[in-house]
């Protein structure tokens, strides 16, 4: 189970489409690897299907090669690049991400996706992207999409532990970028800083980061009646909706992060239990 049956991307994608299906797990080629920070990596992968189908907020499952670690590692798609490539940005937190960090261009990695229901980008509005640390990647894809929307405006407010590893990528995609490190404050500091320039009736907040951060953002936005969408995280068994392992508590019951989400409207979330 450590490697998919299919070792080239195109055939499985083609065959799946011919059969009227989505392609299952497949083995893709890594086209780029770059360290953005100590233990934060940017990886690009050739997968035309994922590149074509990725919405802002979509993620892919990557699978470690070793059989001791079989479960999927969900990673947000941070950008879609030319030539059928997707980009992910990940931190090394455990065995799987450590293994990924040791891969190099030309190596292969197993992938499933794109997965999940992404951000709902209704139309022209002022989008405020509020990200924390490794929650930034899905917001980059959102920035990429918003940039192509006529009349839309974007502000990115990013909080980091140390190095501002994503700023270089984000700054080219948004109208305004402000970022902050832990020792200087957090994203609420940044929100307070831009509040005066915001028209709540025309603003949408998209946020992704640690659950307590998103809860604070949702509470800040709630008080100001700014609609907010949260990109949630949960331990997953499958990532494609079959096992019900990844639920968050919502006002509509326990919903799957991987298929009903990962993006949920802030007002639908019940923070207490989902926050673990």
């Amino acid at each position: 189970m450590s490697q998919a049956v299919f070792t080239t991307t195109e055939p499985v994608i083609d065959r799946a489409r011919r059969a009227g299906r989505r392609p299952g797990r497949r083995t893709d080629m890594i086209t780029g690897m770059e360290a953005l920070d100590r233990d934060v990596w940017r990886m690009t992968i050739k997968d035309p299907f994922a590149a074509q189908e990725a919405h802002p907020g979509s993620f892919v499952n990557l699978y470690p090669a070793d059989s001791m670690t079989l479960l999927p590692r969900p990673l947000g798609i941070s950008r879609v690049l030319d030539g059928g490539q997707i980009e992910v940005i990940f931190g090394v937190v455990g065995k799987g991400t450590r293994e990924f960090s040791e891969l190099r261009p030309g190596d292969s990695v197993d992938l499933l996706g794109p997965l999940g229901k992404g951000f709902d980008l209704g139309g022209a509005a002022h989008y405020i992207l509020v990200g924390g640390g490794l929650g930034v990647p899905p917001l980059i894809r959102a920035a990429q999409a918003i940039r192509g929307m006529e009349g839309a405006q974007s502000t990115a407010l990013l909080g980091y532990r140390n190095l501002h590893f994503a700023d270089r990528i984000v700054e080219r995609l948004v109208d305004d970028l402000r970022s902050i490190s832990n020792d200087h404050g957090d994203v609420i500091t940044l929100l307070d800083g831009v509040e005066s320039g915001i028209d709540p009736s025309n603003t949408v907040i998209l946020t992704c980061g640690p659950t307590p951060m998103m809860e604070a953002v949702a509470s800040w936005a709630g008080k100001r009646s700014i609609p907010t969408q949260c990109c949630m995280e949960s331990r997953m068994g499958c990532g494609y909706g079959t096992c019900v392992a990844c639920v968050v508590d919502t006002v509509n019951g326990r919903l799957k992060v991987c298929k009903d989400g990962p993006v949920f409207r802030a007002q639908d979330l019940v923070w207490k239990d989902g926050g673990r």
Partner: protein
């Protein structure tokens, strides 16, 4: 000396165990149309191949994106209870060496929704359906079976083995007397073939198997998950909100096989569905040689949506060179 001239023992079949598949030229394509060559019969119900999906690892909306459900020998669906259950809090899963542990706790929308949303769609897609029945009490099970008695479900699977619910579930499945009483009661309520799904968390599997059969079970399925857990060494706390959960995946394969083997030895005639760690046609075949009539694929489907179809295809090809076994299965009989 002809057959033994080369040292080295076992010669591999053309098929690969998926777990270390290094062979890009496998040729097997689960997405191409395929005519099944080797069927099986479980408690009188024909399956077009001996491979089904294991309960709780198949969701129609999720899986039909990836393969044709009519391609499976059978579709085992998630446990349904009399009313909707919300299951356990998150986190509900953790990784284990070559496996996983889950504490989903039978979250499901209840039997009424199942009868409207899922079952008719599955039947219209051409699936053979094994409906998994969950309960907190004998009355719960009875209510669900009653609702399913006239449904188009092909078989009922009574889940007395879930380690993730506090009442009912595994506690019934570990007590031969209580189990016998429950199955006897359910037996009176339906003519549908009734499979009892057994837990491995017992001292004497034969006793619970026998109690089920004497209670009126038409078949047995085993194993459900083994109790287990993981701890986060950065906090010293269990990873699962529920602390312990059920272990499944390749890691449980030899244990599951041993359970099927022991039940088959004790009960030569009862149809058995073998479950546990199957991720390749080869592993499925080991279960058939251990005496199973059919198998189901669980955790492997979580790691690759098309795994159940792939296992079925691999097995179909492996059975080509094993006509004695294939013939027995086709007649509803088992190896030895």
């Amino acid at each position: 000396m002809d057959e033994t001239m080369e040292k080295g023992g076992t010669v591999m079949d053309g098929e690969q165990d998926a777990s270390t598949n290094q062979n890009p030229a496998l040729g097997m394509d689960p997405l191409e149309p395929h005519s099944w060559k080797h069927g099986t019969v479980v408690a009188g119900v024909p399956w077009k191949n001996p491979v089904g999906t294991a309960s709780g690892t198949f969701n129609l909306d999720a899986c039909q994106d990836y393969y044709d459900v009519a391609d499976m020998g059978a579709i085992g669906t998630k446990g349904v209870s009399p009313i909707p259950w919300e299951g356990n809090p998150s986190p509900r899963t953790a990784e284990t060496p070559a496996g996983m542990v889950n504490s989903v706790g039978l979250q499901n929308p209840g039997v009424d929704r199942y009868l409207v949303d899922e079952l008719p769609r599955l039947k219209s897609l051409g699936a053979t359906v094994v409906t998994n029945v969950a309960g907190h009490s004998d009355d719960d099970y009875a209510q669900v079976v009653e609702r399913l008695a006239d449904s188009p479900a092909d078989m009922l699977e009574i889940n007395v083995s879930c380690p993730n619910v506090s009442h009912g579930g595994m506690s019934v499945g570990t007590d031969p007397k209580a189990l016998n009483r429950l199955i006897h009661r359910l037996r009176g309520m339906t003519d549908k073939p009734m499979v009892v799904k057994l837990t491995p968390n017992v001292t004497d599997i034969v006793a619970v198997a026998q109690a089920s059969v004497e209670g009126g079970a038409d078949a047995l399925s085993l194993i459900n998950t083994l109790v287990g857990m993981r701890i986060d060494i950065t906090t010293g706390e269990p990873i699962l909100a529920q602390e312990t959960g059920g272990v499944s995946g390749p890691c449980v394969f030899p244990i599951a096989l041993g359970f099927v083997w022991r039940v088959r030895k004790a009960l030569p005639d009862i149809p058995i569905i073998g479950i546990g760690g199957i991720d390749s046609g080869e592993k499925a075949l080991e279960f058939l040689y251990a005496g199973a009539n059919a198998v189901e694929v669980g955790a492997a489907a979580l790691l690759d949506p098309v795994a159940p179809v792939r296992v079925a295809r691999e097995l179909d090809d492996l059975l080509d060179s094993r006509p004695e076994l294939a013939d027995l299965l086709a007649q509803g009989k088992t190896w030895k």
